[in-house]
């Protein structure tokens, strides 16, 4: 009787672990198989645009921004961004002498800014355009359970809309609030730096539409690139939330200390 019981439990054990073993082995084989396919795929799809020759950086000069919202409107049109969601937006900071700060961004500045009535003496006021920081060590890619968020070889973070399951982990993981769940497609959506434009040698819609050149796109791998030069040499250029060690590739020039 005792022997019979042992046999039964061994059988059920085998039954349960058998499935698991199959999955583990299959997983291992898949990885090896994918590697062998790599060179074959690259031969099949040679890209006219060579992404290994680019390393994009973005620079915002907050002293220049006039808060007109042209960039937000251009981005909405260029990328079919749904209403009240933003791939880029502009914030307004109004700071009093005692450090009180009023921050607003009405509808992401899609319709510019109305005059603000502050009940204190304004020490300084300025605009800060924001967008995806395209971080080198980004938490949004790390948390994606299906490999939908990824970093391209030219330094951009993109979301594969066909792969994304809309779980929203990346939306929560992004420390800059740059992602949103698309209300119709139910997938994560974000700034692509207009990948369809920059790979054709054009500027992102926000950079091109800026009437005062407050937004600039640079390329670290291009010789004599002016924007990359400013970022490398300027003492008044910094990134947002540097303590998170995400290494953003979006830099801010003349950024006031209130901006976090």
């Amino acid at each position: 009787m005792q022997n019979r019981e042992t046999e039964m439990s061994r059988r059920s054990f085998l039954g349960k672990t058998g499935g698991l073993a199959v999955l583990v082995v299959a997983g291992g084989v898949t990885t090896v198989f994918a590697d062998s396919k790599q060179s074959e795929q690259i031969k099949k799809n040679p890209q006219a645009y060579d992404w290994s020759q680019h390393d994009y950086v973005y620079l915002v000069d907050t002293d220049k921004c006039i808060g007109c919202g042209s960039c937000v409107r251009a981005c909405q049109k260029e990328n079919h961004v749904p209403p009240h969601r933003f791939r880029t937006w502009v914030e307004r900071y109004v700071v009093s002498h005692d450090g009180h700060t009023h921050i607003d961004s009405p509808d992401g500045a899609r319709n510019g800014f109305p005059p603000v009535v502050s009940d204190y003496n304004v020490a300084k006021a300025f605009f800060v355009p924001k967008l995806c920081n395209h971080c080198t060590h980004t938490p949004c890619v790390q948390v994606c359970p299906v490999g939908a968020s990824y970093r391209t070889k030219d330094g951009l973070i993109l979301v594969d809309e066909k792969r994304c399951i809309g779980c929203g982990y990346c939306v929560q993981a992004c420390p800059y609030g740059s992602r949103f769940i698309h209300p119709e497609l139910h997938v994560a959506s974000k700034c692509t730096l207009c990948y369809h434009r920059i790979t054709k040698g054009m500027l992102p819609a926000c950079v091109q539409s800026c009437p005062v050149q407050a937004r600039m796109l640079g390329d670290r791998k291009k010789n004599g690139d002016k924007v990359a030069e400013i970022i490398a040499t300027s003492k008044v250029v910094r990134v947002l939330k540097p303590e998170l060690l995400t290494e953003p590739n979006c830099y801010y020039k003349n950024l006031s200390k209130e901006v976090y």
């Binding site: 198989f33 799809n45 251009a74 307004r92 900071y93 490999g147 500027l203 009437p211």
Partner: protein
């Protein structure tokens, strides 16, 4: 003979491994996944192939260089030279598209012309947060100070949107009369 059952089970498990591999791989892993990294390589191509909506800063000139030579020259020497046409009008792809056979640009829609003061106000309404050197007015006060009547299209009565300065052409007084 009493072990036949066990042997069959072992064979079944050995067969199940490659079969499950093929099935799971087919269902769970997209074709181009893992080519460049832990993502679908075709996705990059799909992003690159997304249609472009706005042109570049020279797009309009290919047609309007001839059609509106004076207007473009006027804009180029004025303060609005750095403002792209598409900011105030509309994206070029809503206006023209390449012909499917010849590839030549064909007009599909009339370009938007906004004459409202609201468009000017996006940039030029006075805001504390704007850089001081940037030209800005309190729109309504400015209109009153110029003895003009406020209306939706009040700005363009004096200022040419393509070259808004009044100093160069001395048309300030002319504009005032018009506005009245």
């Amino acid at each position: 003979m009493e072990h036949t059952k066990h042997i069959w089970r072992a064979v079944l498990i050995i067969l199940l491994v490659p079969i499950s591999y093929v099935v799971i791989h087919h269902i769970a892993v997209p074709e181009s996944f893992g080519v460049y990294g832990h993502y679908r390589a075709d996705s990059v191509k799909e992003f690159m192939d997304t249609p472009v909506i706005h042109g570049d800063r020279e797009s309009c000139q290919s047609c309007h260089e001839k059609q509106n030579k004076e207007l473009l020259a006027n804009k180029a020497k004025g303060k609005h030279a750095t403002v792209p046409c598409e900011n105030c009008h509309d994206a070029v792809s809503f206006h023209v598209k390449p012909d499917s056979k010849t590839g030549e640009l064909v007009k599909i829609e009339k370009m938007v012309i906004v004459r409202s003061y609201r468009l000017c106000a996006y940039c030029h309404e006075y805001l504390e947060a704007r850089p001081n050197a940037f030209p800005q007015v309190k729109c309504k006060e400015h209109v009153i100070s110029q003895d003009a009547e406020f209306s939706e299209e009040v700005c363009v009565k004096c200022h040419d949107p393509h070259n808004p300065s009044l100093k160069e052409e001395g048309k300030k007084d002319e504009g005032k009369k018009d506005a009245k």
